[in-house]
Symmetry: D2
Subunit: 424 residues, 4 copies
């Protein structure tokens, strides 16, 4: 592998060593709009989108304007779970534009704190209190957050070890895999964790992503996903679908579970929910699993700035199917470029909508490609259990020309690195 | 107890039952400025301050203006832990204005996700990885958050039960109490958890608030707090001081531990850190306990909107000691009103700076008082293990006249309720 | 179902309600010899053999005489793990007669306390200390004891619930089943618990019985058992075979794993080891997994009375293959009776050697059969997760005539109960 | 320190390294009677008594004869929890001779498996099931066994670490200490674990020894022990007194709790219960905490050989108070020798009845003394968290002359080693 000069440390002198993106992309960023992001020195095309929290690009003008207006009127910003106009308006649009039209208005909405891991922690409480059981079942390759409850569901070994305590009350089982007949996998899952398990030790819930982003962009098959839901229903175990990264249209539907005709008992949303990158998270929960007064709380569960931008974006992007349809179309568009360039022949390309992964097989090559892309002005993240996957998360609103240009450049860099790499 | 009319449910039709403040204060709020907050119907004087997250009042004009400017320039909003101008500027001011002048520049700053519980979860990882031990020691009456790791440190029984799983790797021990000689309490603490404990099972850390807010406004004595620190040092156990509610000047110093001449190994800050109520949290950590690359993460740990408002407020309020001194003075001012009104004779008044509690002894009386105050246009929260404490958290910037008027009104309502109550 | 008269409670007035066999067989027993056992009122033919702890029948005369002689000479009885003549002699015969000839002299012998569960607890310590991991993998249907460590490996739901605490650091996975292709089961086992599992969370050990006695007499297939061993070796995970009930010739070999050509890393022996029913237990452990000085202990690990009887029985029964061969032959003999009587057509008959089960499908019928057999003077136990299996455990030394007569009587009672039962 | 020649390893060639007494006392023992025990080479005077399991000395002739007679009559030996004559007779004598006269006939007797740790495991189940809580409270310095449930209550660090898993559902708190005012210790205990503890997390039980043997012969004060019982009663928490080492007269009463006028909810007995060193254990349990059918089991809970010897010894030694009185007298007798020799001036002598410890302060000196005593033909064990205590456990039936001679020799060796030791 080539290494140019040692990367400049852009961390503050007194900053913790825990940071990671500031090492991969050693630049100081200042401004951003749509799919463009500027450091103090140059412009970048963004295929990272805040790890999926900027589906509508940076600084969506409608959201931005709504927030400036709200601030200018002294709109209340911090309200815990007091009721506010901004909060009610967000809930109304969520039900009117998103849940109602999808026959999902039966869910209750719970504000759980503004980050994804807060929503997962709350969902675990719902499931455990309702079932009286403790063990959550989740899948290898999944990622659900790093607070202790969520971390026990997340598969990454380094993150798990960093807990410094045993991760309990959770079991990880293999995710769907192309190399496995779904029927057999489901039989084993049912035997091991439901049928031959003392009833008191059955799972309290099953937690899954339908497209595993951090795990390396693995897509569940329809047969397997429906089979998991069926087992859950058969044994009265709530199914929790984590839509934190896949939601808000990322896969070409508002929820990824729409592709599978599932009806989860709980759904977590966060990341792109505020539309403009502000912290916001919500748990949709079947009333049978709802919590009672005060069983979960948190200071920042009433982030009105985020309610305001979320409302603006729901109205702009989810009053019709245009964005979702375009996202589904773009899956083909990107795939075609990767086929034409020969990438898809040589490497596995996986994903759904605009959550796409190119599995380059080895972590060093992938890191090299990402580093070269950064040098070329394109931000792309790596993923997968060994960091072997290039993960493409362009804004759903990226200009077509940028998308074309960007994906083509990505393909070019991959091919070039492969040629140069002694590892191939 | 009297009950006027049944409170109107201001929750959205489809909202979770988990919410609590919207029940206590059945109003729909819209705007806020300084210590005034407006529902759609009337004005309230705010002695709640977003549970301590609005030390500088609502919509501080400097912070507000800085954020509007930042938005107007397309400042980058969501950046995970990429380096940004806004982030660097916040760190610079934090070190220059707060940490440096207090001889605390040796800490590293870690962005842990934007809520207090994220910071506590990260601190636990630091302590457990560095010591190789697992058990955190915390104190009865403490509150540190409700994600699984933090919840194990939090003392509230109802919140703990809501976990639905055993809370492990933590032990709660009695907090300092006026009825106990600090020396004896410290002896027992040392024997039970350090001296007579197999070395491998000693605590991984001690986590404490110096003024317990949620627990009912209990203030640690100087002797006890210093004794706890001494024991920690003697056995190489890191001391974590939770300044989430007490920090940013609430007790009359930027950090409450300044009153005690402590030097914790880790400090958590959140709530008022952003200055305007946006989610922001930070962990200050001695380099000996720092984490490595990626051992903790989270999507919203780069909330630039909050960096911008935080920077504005640090500059405005922490370039000198004026606000802190005023807060210390106001402790006397409020206490005097409570003495003069006879409240302090009849009930225990506790606290430090502008984190003050009036222990009314019984939950029903306290709820009645809070409810009458709401009817009178004053927002005051209850606290304590049985909800028996009225907790006064006015903005540090409240107008003197409002503070006088508000506290006097609070005293009047307490006296009136006591007269009317058959419970007395 | 018919019920004659209410069973007389033969418990002592002040006895705990926990006892179970004294309820099933409401008689007060006094003497026993070979396969005959006498209550104060009548004689019984014993197909129970102390739950497998009397493979050589009651009061084997050689063992009995050796013990009387030892007592008469004031042989030391209780010696913890001090060295004694009786202990050394037992070890010598164990290695010379059993382990050496089977190429197993590489094992070390550990005295772990005199009951099977002590041996399992010690084996878990060996595995966990050597691997630095915590999670034991065991199989549904397995039974390994009821002290807390062993109970976590045991599958019976009622026994597990009686712990009153969560059973941790163990995972139960499905045992081999005729309805499952062994290859697929092994693939899933490997993926779920080894391949896709973070290395630090791989099992510390795999614990299995090759014929599950308490679980209802399920016999592992050769392909599956060897596959499990192969996976263990591939990932450096020690394999522990529990021979507590299957050992000492019960299945027609001294160890049941001889049928499978396995070489476990640890082997637990107990039950019939003392030959005469005295408490004795031993762990055979590969030196790589041995414990160090004092890491496990227990007052009664030096039960010399049991060493003396064990030595006598090893010499009498394991100097040649006669007993083992006869036990293998008797599997056919018993099976033929069950085939000829039509039992084997109607019900599944499973097992190996003289550990045989007749699966009657329903617990009430099985209990009825066992009760009628008791009335007819034959002791037979029930087993299986729902008590639906009649478990035949005759002494390996039972007279041929008694075996014939007893099995024929058992078949007759089954057929009669089936005719009378309205459940069929 | 002096070292003669390297100790000969008396272990079998293939024996586990786990053994410990065979290293301390490198001899092969063969016979024993009363307080004398013979290796193949010489005679020893026994101040060890099988770690307290031989209160009546080796091979008590009555017990020996009863067992030989039982064997000669083909008495049933192994019966699980079937009812037998031997079992009923033992229970009758236990109630008639021991429990009845002490007003303790309200207990139920549970056979839990033949070792002390089995009884502790069963007691934990009783407490946890009855209270619905999980956490057992035990005391530093205590020892209750090494199976996983009991080990969590045992204080020895090396033994705990050998578990290889976190020990959960138990908390160790400081035992009574002469340097602590009992009242303060009790206050702290009550605050920390009962009063300020959420009700659902209060202890499921408190487990204690009144004289801690393994921990170094620490004797609870009357005020403290009664205070613990009072707290237990106040909060409905069962008190479990572990009499495994202290029972059967060792402290000068059948139960050590008789000295304290306690009435525990559960009592564990083992060690000397069989009278002749055979494995036997029993749990006495208040009916409110009894288990139900089959909630605990174990193959060897019906060790009839031990019932027979236990019955013989109950009759011989507990039909009157002679042995108990003599044991109380002998406490003075031994103490006087230690006073007269100057030992008691120089070192702390602790204990009750014939469970006495001489705290020599340092482990190496204590080991040296024990080793010199072995060379002189006297077996004495070391104890204490650092092995710094010489533990005297002579048979209660030792000849007066032997006791005098032995204790005098022990005092002489201590004084000689002190003179020779450079450590003094």
């Amino acid at each position: 592998m080539t290494a140019t000069s040692a990367p400049v440390d852009v961390g503050h002198l007194n900053e913790s060593e825990v940071r990671s993106y500031s090492r991969e992309w050693p630049a100081v960023f200042s401004r951003a709009r749509g799919s463009r992001i500027w450091s103090n020195e140059r412009e970048y095309l963004d295929f990272f989108s805040g790890a999926g929290s900027l589906n509508y690009g940076h600084n969506d003008p409608c959201a931005q304007r709504a927030l400036v207006d709200y601030l200018s009127e002294d709109g209340i910003l911090q309200s815990l779970d007091m009721q506010t106009d901004a909060r009610l308006e967000f809930l109304r649009e969520l039900y009117d534009l998103v849940l109602g039209p999808r026959d999902l208005a039966g869910y209750r909405a719970m504000f759980t704190g503004p980050t994804g891991t807060n929503a997962i922690e709350a969902a675990l409480k719902c499931a455990r209190l309702a079932t009286g059981r403790t063990r959550a079942l989740a899948f290898t390759g999944g990622f659900h957050g790093v607070s202790l409850g969520s971390l026990a569901l997340s598969s990454n070994g380094a993150k798990r070890s960093a807990a410094g305590v045993p991760l309990t009350d959770a079991t990880l089982v293999p995710f769907d895999s192309p190399s496995q007949e779904p029927g057999e996998a489901l039989d084993w899952l049912e035997r091991a964790h439901f049928l031959e398990c003392p009833e008191s030790e059955r799972p309290a819930c099953v937690v899954m992503e339908l497209v595993q982003g951090e795990g390396g962009v693995h897509v569940a098959s329809r047969e397997w996903a429906q089979g998991v839901e069926l087992i859950c229903h058969r044994y009265g175990v709530p199914l929790i679908v984590d839509e934190i990264q896949t939601g808000c249209g990322r896969t070409g539907r508002f929820f990824s579970f729409e592709h599978y005709d599932l009806r989860p008992d709980m759904v977590t949303l966060s990341k792109s929910l505020s539309g403009i990158g502000l912290p916001l998270s919500i748990l949709l929960v079947d009333p049978a699993y709802d919590l009672q007064d005060g069983q979960h709380n948190g200071t920042f569960r009433g982030n009105n700035a985020a309610f305001v931008t979320a409302t603006a974006c729901l109205r702009k992007y989810w009053s019709d199917d245009v964005l979702a349809q375009r996202t589904r179309d773009r899956e083909d568009l990107v795939t075609n470029i990767l086929v034409d360039s020969g990438i898809a022949d040589r490497f596995q390309v996986r994903g759904k909508g605009q959550l796409l992964g190119i599995d380059l097989g080895a972590a060093d090559v992938t890191a090299w490609v990402a580093s070269e892309l950064f040098a070329a002005g394109i931000l792309v993240e790596t993923a997968g259990d060994r960091g072997q996957v290039l993960k493409l998360l362009p804004a759903l609103t990226m200009e077509s020309e940028d998308l074309n240009k960007g994906v083509t450049a990505i393909a070019d860099v991959i091919l070039r690195v492969c040629r140069e790499s002694t590892a191939f």
